[in-house]
Symmetry: C2
Subunit: 154 residues, 2 copies
DNA sequence: GGTTGCATTGGAGCGCACTCACAGCCCTAG
DNA sequence: CTAGGGCTGTGAGTGCGCTCCAATGCAACC
């Protein structure tokens, strides 16, 4: 795998998680700019979250969402992409407060890129140690299972 | 690595986590049966939790803890071992309610071993998918970092 | 036109897992 | 002898992240 392939793979992983929005779905969303909008139920389903959660995210300022003539939310491609990122960060344990800070930085323009980078680096480290912790817990669990199988003593 | 070595390694992982109680500390605890007891502060420090949390765990029935003549808690080796297990399960995401069920089963005797096994197997699967999720999030984060490094666009 | 159904809003409520406050007891040091 | 500090039990409080409620409104189908 060369660099390009690695990046492609990472991108696929980044935006095509199991249980998350699929690349095809995103493509469908952007097919034509006019109809390329999802209502809250569709968006929530694609993201695997509760519609309430999407309203909550909007309320606290994590995303801004357009309205149709009836005042109903219409999620366009950029909003969905942001939500994909946000939900991914959330499910990997980044607190909402950090996400608020991050989107604040994004809104703040290019000058905030270093700070965003720092946040991402920090999160990467957090993820790595989380994974290590879980792998330890997994080993412990498997050991416990092994002891049960050999000689059942609690 | 043969079977024995694997088990030894797993055991080491199981009871010697980074930031958790160490094998040496446990050994120290069991050195002589008489002094082999920890007070709540020592125990909490070794487990890396708040003393309040230990009282809480006792209150809800996760462990039973002896008292000294002054009525202060004394954690003996079995109690510490159970707490090591419990905190490990907790930090790997098993809810308290499940832990309560598990210790209930342990109290219930050998007949509950199959059910305990089932719980552990389920937890193992949960851990595996958690790890997979986190690895995806890690890949996504690293991809984002890569995009920032090449052409800073949010 | 009426009913059904999903949407809207702000605010309240919930579940989890702690975490702390309070009043009182006990031991030790000075 | 007394002051300090850590422990005790119990109840209440906290923070997070949703999740639901109530009242209302539009929209599409029968």
């Amino acid at each position: 795998m060369d660099q390009d392939e690695l990046l492609t793979e990472a991108l696929r992983l980044a935006i095509d998680p199991p249980g998350g929005v699929s690349v095809d779905a995103l493509r469908e969303l952007t097919r034509d700019d006019d109809a390329g909008q999802w209502d809250i139920a569709t968006t929530a389903a694609h993201l695997g979250v509760n519609p309430h959660t999407l309203r909550y995210y909007e309320r606290i300022g994590l995303v801004s969402v357009d309205r149709d003539t009836a005042g109903h939310r219409r999620y366009n491609a950029p909003a969905v992409r942001r939500l994909v990122f946000l939900t991914r960060m959330r499910t990997s344990g980044m607190p909402i407060s950090d996400l608020l800070r991050y989107v604040g930085l994004v809104e703040g323009g290019g000058a905030t890129v270093p700070e965003r980078l720092e946040m991402l680096l920090e999160h990467r480290d957090t993820l790595r140690s989380q994974i290590a912790q879980l792998q330890l817990a997994l080993a412990a669990t498997e050991f416990k299972l092994a002891t049960y199988k050999e000689a059942p003593r609690p």
